[in-house]
């Protein structure tokens, strides 16, 4: 018997816990997979958000990450490769009250499902999208993905891949996403905050999670995520705060007019003071676009946290359903069928 039904009828329901959101299914990811940590954080964070199991829906596509819904004791739909955004859109159109999370990966969400990802973001459908980026196709045994670095050796690219890599954050912003964030599978303290922000955003929220595939692409994010280098390789964004990083917070990001780009600098060197360091403004799209590119150079950190958040007045589903509501009941089917030119045969 599940705990919810056991609690039925009791006047005061105990708050839900991690356990309430954990299904009875055995988790089948490889031992050491980054997905475990993300799952645990989700199961722990949902109770903190005060949501119910019955109003929560996880929709996924195909791939390792897309098994996620089976492990959540909520409603879940494991769909087909790349199509989760479309299915999730349909769920929201049928019942806008539902809390919909979409789980995808770099292959599912950006290759076979790239078109749907573009449009779900462009439309601003009110769902929370988590893209687990491990730079590889795991479930099909290790082929390179659209986010793999050029030169990635894989069963389908024995000489190394020649395709340039796609930047998911840049893609999302280019698609018109209004909420874009990034976190890391091992950052169990950072991740819940990002999830909460994504959940609180009305519209499509896009979260890239740097995730480690221990079997086929181990440590592809190593220099960003490992303890020794993380402080230098991660820029933890806070809205309204200066973009400082490094163990001693002695490094920062400034705007360089000559190259028209962001630059990682050392405070105190070359006459740079803290005043030169940019202050993060989540509502600034141009800044977000530049932050998306950060990390390409060896001395640059990758931007973490909420890069961009600019909520629209109405989400897509609200706008669509408002049109329906405005018309509803004005005519009946009988009115329609019996209207127009009719004649009687006696």
């Amino acid at each position: 018997m599940n705990e919810i039904s056991a609690l039925k009828g009791t006047p005061e329901k105990a708050p839900l816990t991690l356990k309430d959101f954990t299904s009875d299914q055995e988790v089948r990811w490889c031992p050491g997979c980054g997905d475990y940590a993300i799952l645990k954080v989700m199961q722990r964070t949902l109770p903190e958000l005060g949501v119910t199991r019955e109003n929560t829906v996880f929709v996924s596509g195909i791939g390792c990450s897309s098994r996620f819904p089976y492990y959540m004791d909520t409603y879940g739909f494991h769909t087909i490769h790349g199509r989760a955004p479309a299915v999730a859109t349909g769920v929201k159109l049928a019942n806008p009250e539902l809390d919909v999370w979409m789980i995808t990966g770099d292959g599912d969400g950006l290759s076979i499902g790239g078109n749907h990802m573009l449009h779900v973001l462009r439309r601003d459908v009110d769902i929370n999208i988590l893209l687990f980026n491990n730079m590889i196709y795991g479930l099909t045994k290790g082929q390179f993905s659209p986010t793999s670095k050029p030169g990635t050796k894989s069963p389908s690219t024995p000489q190394g891949s020649v395709d340039p890599a796609l930047n998911p954050i840049g893609f999302a912003l280019g698609s018109g996403a209004r909420f874009v964030a990034r976190t890391v599978d091992t950052a169990i303290k950072h991740m819940p905050g990002v999830f909460k922000r994504a959940h609180g955003f009305k519209g499509a929220s896009f979260v890239e999670i740097l995730q480690n595939c221990i079997v086929y692409a181990d440590q592809v994010w190593g220099d960003v995520t490992q303890k020794a280098t993380a402080a230098d390789k991660q820029l933890l964004l806070e809205n309204g705060e200066k973009m400082l990083f490094g163990k001693e917070k002695d490094k920062g990001i400034r705007f360089d007019l000559a190259s028209f780009s962001l630059q990682a600098v050392m405070i105190g060197e070359n006459g740079i003071t803290e005043d030169d360091i940019l202050v993060h403004d989540e509502s600034n799209l141009q800044m977000a676009r530049m932050l998306a590119e950060l990390g390409a150079e060896a001395n640059e950190p990758m931007a973490m946290g909420v890069l961009y958040s600019e909520q629209a007045e109405y989400s897509y589903t609200e706008a669509v359903l408002a049109q329906v509501e405005a018309q509803k009941g004005k005519r009946t089917l009988k009115d329609m069928i019996y209207s127009g030119q009719t004649w009687e045969v006696k």
């Binding site: 109003n55 049928a94 089917l333 004649w343 045969v345």
Partner: protein, 616 residues
């Protein structure tokens, strides 16, 4: 002088002109006036795929054919009695079908050297022996139109655009039809452009007046076509896509579900997307997706969340939806998939009709993936078939393929308005919260229908996860067990097979329930088969007509019924798809009669096949 009026039983009129000449409008307005006169009718809009093909070319010719009469009209007519050709290209394309002795009306004003060249005529065919076979009325309609509308101050180009109304006015006079419904419609259509409305009405009246004046000419007679003796009731004209869209909404209401349509523009199915998008008053939600796959996936998502998911497309789009259809089969969610068939393969003939997607509908998915397939025989029939598609989808928790075609979608016919209050509801009951101590399984089945539980998000205690991976028969959890897969495959098949017992027995449309010959059809070949069999029977031949709505599974008595005939002919607008399925299911010698020219069968073609079969 009292005009001589010839009384006819029926007549076929074909309006043909350049794509920009407004022939579809002319035809549909003539249709509405004819319907109001109480004649039975069938129409065939025949237009090119190009939106605006180069002016004056043969591939830019657009035509609208109507067959109307005081008797029951089942087809659009084999050959027109009257052909209106607005330019040389229209004449070139359509003259060969005009019956010998038929009336040809041409706008000689459009027979310029340039237009003749574009149509491939070296010199004008008017006045040559080529015309001897017909009664020709060549009028400078262009000039007379300009004359009629000049007081309304339109530019030359705009004024010329009224020539379709001039022509319509004359044809209305010719067949003693009323102008009022059309003037009313023009006033409404051009409410914001009163000068344009006035000019069009002036042209319409001028054409009509011309008919009256020219009546003195011996070749130019009036015809009278009476009202048909249809079943008593209230009628209107309806196109297939209109009736189908209403049927979907009606089905949703009977099931007590909201309709969510996911669709992507495609010819000739877009009219369904348009029609349902205009039904927000009835709570219909429409979603124009980024592609065909997203369209069906959104419909599936809507069904998962408790609405009635519907998707509509044509062959190429249906091909793209097949993987998702498999998901709906595996997750056993209700879904209505509408295929408005067109000529194939690939892009094929987008605006021409065909019924060549039957294999695709029955077999076209990976894995053993059975679904019910049903079809529409005529525009009015679409209403009932759409309701039936919804009923089967929700009762059996399955996608249902509804096959219609471009011809049915665009064609119009008089339709006796159904008594909506008399329709029997089939209200859906979603799974309830389990009682204490009870466990919930999303794959618990109804013993009779084998349909699974439909629990929807938002309901407490029925939280579950489903997907395209094989599921355990009892719990619905992922299962790779081999015996379980056998059992689930068998169960999915048995569920669909069982539908055969929940649909009407196959009836015989005309003729005996056994005998010499059965002509077996499906879909929009209903009209020509029906007429051909009627004629054959009135000539004393033992021929019967059987028309199959339920193509998969077949009605339970179909095999036995077909076994009662010595010979079976299957006319189809494909290379023999139903014929093959019938042979496979019943081991009978069904003989094909095939046509894939993009045009409906002529009665004569089927009649010839009946005669040669009987002669054997």
């Amino acid at each position: 002088m009292v005009s001589e009026v010839q009384v006819l039983e029926s007549a076929v009129v074909r309006f043909a002109g350049d794509s920009g000449d407004g022939m579809q409008l002319t035809g549909s307005q003539f249709t509405s006036s004819t319907a109001l006169s109480g004649s039975d009718l069938a129409t065939f809009p025949d237009f090119p795929a190009e939106i605006r093909a180069p002016v004056g070319t043969t591939f830019g010719v657009s035509a609208f054919q109507i067959n109307f009469g005081a008797k029951s009209i089942k087809t659009v007519g084999d050959s027109p009695d009257v052909l209106v050709a607005m330019n040389p290209a229209a004449l070139k394309v359509n003259l060969k079908n005009l019956r010998s002795g038929g009336l040809l009306v041409v706008d000689s004003g459009a027979f310029t050297k340039r237009n003749l060249q574009k149509a491939g005529y070296e010199e004008t065919p008017l006045g040559t022996p080529m015309m001897d076979d017909y009664q020709v009325i060549d009028l400078d309609i262009s000039r007379m139109t300009l004359e009629a509308v000049k007081e309304h101050g339109l530019g030359n180009k705009e004024a010329l655009r009224c020539k379709n109304m001039w022509t319509l006015g004359m044809v209305l006079w010719m067949f003693s039809r009323k102008r009022e419904p059309i003037t009313k419609w023009l006033d409404k259509k051009f409410a914001k452009l009163p000068a344009v409305a006035a000019a069009n009405i002036a042209a319409l009246n001028a054409g009509h007046a011309f008919g009256e004046t020219a009546e003195l000419s011996a070749t130019f007679k009036r015809y009278q076509i009476g009202a048909t003796t249809s079943e008593p009731g209230l009628y209107r004209t309806v196109t297939g896509s209109q009736a189908l869209s209403w049927g979907i909404v009606q089905g949703g209401q009977l099931a007590d579900l909201n309709v969510v349509l996911g669709s992507y523009p495609i010819t000739p199915a877009s009219s369904i997307l348009h029609a349902l998008s205009g039904m927000k008053e009835l709570g219909v939600v429409t979603f124009q997706a980024e592609d065909e796959i997203a369209a069906i996936c959104a419909a599936i998502g809507a069904s998962f969340a408790g609405s009635l998911g519907v998707t509509s497309s044509s062959g190429p789009g249906i091909a793209l939806k097949m993987e998702a259809m498999g998901l709906a089969i595996s997750t056993e969610l209700p879904l209505v998939v509408i295929n408005s068939q067109r000529g194939g393969p690939s892009t094929g003939l987008p605006t021409k009709t065909e019924q060549s997607d039957l294999y695709q509908a029955i077999y076209g998915r990976n894995g053993d993936a059975p679904i019910p397939v049903i079809s529409t025989r005529s525009p009015g029939d679409c209403f009932e078939v759409a309701i039936e598609a919804v009923r089967l989808a929700v009762k059996y928790m399955t996608p249902v393929m509804l096959l219609t075609d471009g011809f049915t979608a665009n064609a119009a016919e008089p339709w006796m308005l159904p008594d909506l209050d008399a329709l029997v509801p089939f209200k859906v009951e979603h799974a309830k919260t389990p009682a204490e101590g009870e466990t919930f399984s999303p794959y618990k089945r109804d013993e009779k229908t084998l349909a699974r539980n439909w629990a929807i998000p938002g309901n407490v205690g029925t939280e579950h996860r489903i997907g395209g991976i094989e599921k355990d028969f009892d719990t619905g959890h992922i299962s790779y067990d081999s015996d379980n897969h056998q059992r689930m495959t068998d169960t999915r098949q048995a569920k669909i097979d069982g539908i055969a017992n929940d649909i009407p027995l196959q009836a015989v449309e005309q003729g005996n329930t056994s005998g010499k010959l059965a002509v077996v059809g499906w879909g929009s070949t209903f009209g020509p088969i029906s007429e051909a069999v009627r004629i054959a029977r009135s000539d004393g031949h033992d021929a019967s007509h059987i028309h199959i709505r339920y193509l998969h599974p077949f009605p339970s008595n179909l095999g036995e019924l077909l076994a009662g005939y010595d010979s079976i002919i299957v006319p189809e607008m494909n290379t023999g798809q139903l014929k093959t399925v019938l042979r496979d299911k019943f081991l009978i010698d069904a003989k094909p009669l095939n046509k894939v020219s993009g045009l409906p069968f002529k009665i004569q073609e089927i009649l010839d096949a009946i005669h040669s079969d009987i002669a054997e």
